[in-house]
Symmetry: none
Subunit: 137 residues, 4 copies
Amino acid sequence: MQITSRQAQVAMQGAEATARELGLAVIIAVVDGSTHLKAFHRMDGAVLGSIDIATRKAVTAALFQCNSEDVWEYCKPGASAPSLELTNGGLAPYGGGIALKWIDDTFVGALGVSGGTIEQDTQIARAAYSAFRALMS
Amino acid sequence: MQITSRQAQVAMQGAEATARELGLAVIIAVVDGSTHLKAFHRMDGAVLGSIDIATRKAVTAALFQCNSEDVWEYCKPGASAPSLELTNGGLAPYGGGIALKWIDDTFVGALGVSGGTIEQDTQIARAAYSAFRALMS
Amino acid sequence: MQITSRQAQVAMQGAEATARELGLAVIIAVVDGSTHLKAFHRMDGAVLGSIDIATRKAVTAALFQCNSEDVWEYCKPGASAPSLELTNGGLAPYGGGIALKWIDDTFVGALGVSGGTIEQDTQIARAAYSAFRALMS
Amino acid sequence: MQITSRQAQVAMQGAEATARELGLAVIIAVVDGSTHLKAFHRMDGAVLGSIDIATRKAVTAALFQCNSEDVWEYCKPGASAPSLELTNGGLAPYGGGIALKWIDDTFVGALGVSGGTIEQDTQIARAAYSAFRALMS
């Protein structure tokens, strides 16, 4: 099962609403469960460097079916897989990428946010996830 | 001057409405005037091969500030720049990419469509352009 | 729905049996419906150049959910999308890549063969497909 | 002397049997002594991120004719070759890649495993090696 346009749209709207509340211009990328781009939006004023970062966070989350920052547990100093972040064309092992799980926790895709601090990007990604999950009810 | 989110959104909606009328699932990519991705949508059911093609058409149109098929005049057999299509990471010198020009014909970005025949993709891109230009009035 | 290991294994065995009958050493690549590698085998004696060709044929078939040679109709001289073969990192628009469709013609993946002539590679890919489809009964 | 299909197959079967005992879905890549892919299998359910990791572990082991984690001794903090892991397109200097040596310790190829913890991947790779070496008797 792969993410639908409707699910992607609602998740992106949830992200953008929170970004606006925070006064931020961010970039949001949504990929399907096989890392292929499904939807993308760069808010007016977002820096160009965040295009790749948002996409890479989404891809990182999709590749391992977890949140992007969870990958850091494996490659941080002293952990078991040093330089794991060099695989798959370069991972983004920090906050802002989130795995999207649907009914029965079926993994359907991932979303990445970049444009604020890592804490802000993470907050925005969580808001996107809440909006996405609200579609289930 | 660069394309705004509002302009990109309206252009994409124009494209999608026409794609639906034609019974097609297409991919639409919008880039700004400097070829950086602004917005992207893969309609449910579109083939994965069209992700790169739609994006490449938009980039081709942005790189030369013309429609993607116009580039073919320079690289077709017997023309003056054979293999021009190999530049810039690979051009897409066929229909479906369109330069977006605003008031006073100021170039602000480009849009690419892939998923139908070249004729259909071109028709959808033109519909996107009409929707985009209608914002001016 | 994505291809299973069992399906991939049976398809590859079908390919290898036919390659042996033809006295050929070939390479067989199987990808899932989203172009990610599922299984791969290089028969003893196959040339190294065929590693990329077999994989690219499988990816080409997966990207467009058709046989690899069908893509040539769009990019051959005089056709509507010249240099389409430059997209997606380089396509392989010639025989030997085959889309794998399961019950109800659901697309589940693709297989690519390289090592013989294009006619031989195509024959071997078809034998793989027959073996794969025979699993259905 | 390069690894044969028979040797690769037996090594992969040894890896898969152990992965199943551990209840894991892993990816196994086998390369020849010159780093070219010989055989590959993604077990049903393995995450997509492990495709590149398994392959990279095998390539790392083949490039230096040692186990992948041995490379870490050269690039770990304070060691003599900082950033060595950035060479060769990115190394995987952690467990799960193993050099395959045949009679008289002749190096013939390498195998990489990814999908479990580093300890599990290493255990599975060792089981593959044992199965491979058992062919000698």
